[in-house]
């Protein structure tokens, strides 16, 4: 049981963002699978080069916005029209639509409130980030000026190592990782 989940990966360290980007392209061309990249800052085009799907977080955000807007409409209707109608300065309040112009600021603010907060919570959750979590990057230098690729090396390890050296890796490390 102990060894079944273990996989061999090679961790290659680079010292330039342009080098790692071209490295990713040539490694993938050779048919290797890049498990992960750790970089100190976002590199434009890296996600595409690695073959990552576009994120759907903004679709979630749109849903959250609709939720916030609906909640604001329901809340103003329930409190101001349905449960305890109030005549404020003669503003028409026969039904929600008549009173609606006064509720536009609330509808807007709650849309923004729901979208922003729920999106950020989603972001923490799907990334698995929470206060006090152990650092995800295996090498502390990758938040400074180094860039790391983690490549699956279960099959053709030696080929991969020579390829990585060609692409400009400055350090290579073999590692058994568990899922």
């Amino acid at each position: 049981m102990a060894n079944t989940d273990q996989r061999l990966v090679i961790r290659a360290l680079y010292d330039d963002d342009d080098t790692i980007l071209s490295a990713v392209k040539s490694i993938r061309e050779k048919g290797h699978y890049i498990e992960e990249a750790y970089t100190p800052f976002p590199i434009h085009g890296l996600d595409k080069a690695m073959g990552l799907e576009p994120t759907r977080i903004s679709i979630a955000g749109f849903m959250y916005g609709l939720t916030g807007l609906s909640f604001a409409i329901w809340m103003t209707w329930y409190m101001m029209i349905h449960d305890w109608p109030m005549n404020i300065g003669g503003k028409p309040n026969e039904n929600w639509l008549q009173n609606m112009p006064a509720f536009v600021p609330i509808m807007f603010e709650l849309t923004v409130f729901f979208t922003a907060h729920l999106m950020v919570w989603t972001y923490w959750a799907i990334n698995g980030l929470y206060p006090g979590r152990k650092a995800m990057n295996p090498d502390p230098r990758t938040t400074d000026d180094k860039f790391m690729l983690e490549i699956s090396a279960d099959h053709d390890k030696d080929d991969l190592i020579s390829l990585l050296k060609e692409t400009g890796a400055i350090e290579l490390k073999e590692e058994q990782i568990e899922d």
Partner: protein, 461 residues
């Protein structure tokens, strides 16, 4: 790789590498504070404590400790509230609107500007809180049944809109700021040697490791949050201005208020960013990142928004005359020539005349002059709110109840206290948070760094 035209000023000066950025941003956190910091911190702390004393006195005794009377029933409290909220606007403008407009120069100033936003909104929120008199009844502004019976809050009231606007603004700015801070906290964590420091930054950095998928989501989230924060920041001061504009007081009841208040807010906010960053860049040796061209850009924004504010002042005067409403006409005549003429003059000079100096390239690139103007603008914008609020109230429809306002020592103490509190927070921030968004800044090193631009121009890159 993206390159920038060589005629654009470099945004990062000197021969920097990624590692240099790391080291220089982490330095204020990793070294001990100097005497100047301790001096400023003690001064701010004393002011803050004095303010706390005045607030406790207000809560214990009542609003009668302020200089208010039954004619001028809103004065420094609301002036300070609007002033502080306005200052906050520049932070969001820099981090959100400039992000949408792809202005790369925002990157070395957005972190501190956003910190300023959050700290100044905290100061602003204090004022409505203590003006309630019974602070512990503050939950009444929440949409819960009044007296826990069946009467709800009034959603027709701009004051309630304000509660929603300010709390949304504060909390959204806070999470936006924090999302950007996490990768930088991770950088501090990975460099930390002291185990206590390492542990604190481990908690703060949420385990961030810079994975490719996380950066992809990070960029998408930043873009969406910027898109949300842009209308949000415009809505906040719009709603603040509606506190006045929806009333029927001559001098307040004007439709020009929302855009005029927003322009004024951006104007005063940028002035405060200048005040703070001119000191930060000097003390923490960030001159290579917060360059003279950054200062110049901000001065141009100050000039433009100051001129918009000037046009608004003149439009207001014109419309008062053109409306033919004698109450409105009197309100403005009294504003300019009545007992508060000096406040009106201070407002006009500081806000309309002083930014015009920025047309001169020599003056807007002078750091000393910029610092001086930034203080002047902040004073001017405080007077603007004072003029709008007090001069509109102090002579109402009944001449027998005309009155003047003079602040009590408690009014002054609370105002000084919020300035102290603001600087306490800001000074602590500069020593414990990365004051420059270093991860973001590293993305533009190759396109806007001085050394890389030179290499590119010589055809070597």
């Amino acid at each position: 790789m993206h390159y920038e035209s060589s005629i654009r000023e470099p945004l990062i000066l000197g021969d920097k590498s990624y590692h240099d950025i790391t080291v220089e941003v982490a330095k204020p956190i990793e070294t001990k504070a100097n005497k100047a910091w301790w001096f400023l911190f003690s001064l701010a702390l004393i002011m803050f404590m004095w303010g706390v004393g005045c607030i406790l006195y207000t809560i214990g005794t009542g609003i009668g400790t302020w200089g208010l009377n039954k004619t001028v029933n809103w004065a420094w409290d609301i002036t300070n509230f609007v002033w502080w909220v306005g200052i906050g606007h520049a932070g969001t403008l820099i981090s959100a609107i400039l992000l949408l407009f792809r202005q790369k120069w925002r990157m070395s100033i957005n972190r501190s500007a956003e910190a300023m936003t959050i700290f100044s909104v905290i100061q602003a929120a204090l004022f409505p809180g203590i003006h309630m008199g019974r602070l512990w009844m503050g939950y009444f502004v929440m949409p819960i049944p009044n007296q826990f019976g069946s009467l709800w809050v009034n959603f027709n009231s701009p004051l309630l809109w304000d509660v929603f606007a300010i709390s949304t603004y504060f909390s959204v700015s806070l999470v936006f700021w924090y999302v950007g801070l996490v990768p930088d906290f991770a950088m501090i964590r990975d460099r930390a040697i002291n185990p206590i420091q390492k542990h604190i930054y481990k908690i703060l950095s949420f385990g961030w490791g810079g994975k490719a998928k996380h950066w992809q989501r990070f960029e998408e989230l930043s873009l969406v949050l910027a898109g949300l924060a842009t209308p949000l920041v415009l809505s906040v001061h719009t709603i603040v201005s509606m506190d006045f504009a929806t009333s029927v007081i001559p001098g307040w009841h004007t439709t020009i208020f929302p855009p005029y208040f927003v322009a004024g807010a951006v104007f005063s906010g940028f002035a405060m960013v200048q005040t703070l960053l001119l000191v930060v860049r000097k003390v923490y040796k960030m001159e290579h990142y917060i360059t003279v061209s950054h200062v110049e850009m901000m001065n141009i924004i100050i000039m433009v928004t100051g001129s918009i504010v000037g046009v608004a002042y003149i439009t207001e005067l014109f419309i008062a005359w053109y409306s033919g409403v004698e109450f409105e006409q009197y309100a403005f005549l009294n504003r300019a020539t009545g007992p508060y003429w000096w406040a009106y003059l201070a407002m006009m000079t500081c806000n309309v005349v002083s930014p015009q100096f920025m047309w001169s390239k020599k003056l807007r690139t002078s750091l000393v002059f910029t610092f001086f103007i930034s203080i002047i603008v902040n004073i001017g914008m405080w007077f603007e709110r004072f003029v709008i609020i007090v001069t509109s109230l102090h002579r109402d429809y009944l001449p027998s109840s005309w009155a003047k306002f003079s602040p009590s020592f408690v009014d002054i103490g609370i105002f000084l206290g919020t300035i102290g509190f603001f600087f306490v927070l800001f000074l602590l921030y500069t020593r414990s948070f990365p004051v420059i968004a270093q991860a973001e800044l590293k993305t533009i090193l190759k396109s806007s760094g001085e050394n890389y631009k030179k290499l590119h121009d010589n055809g070597e890159h």
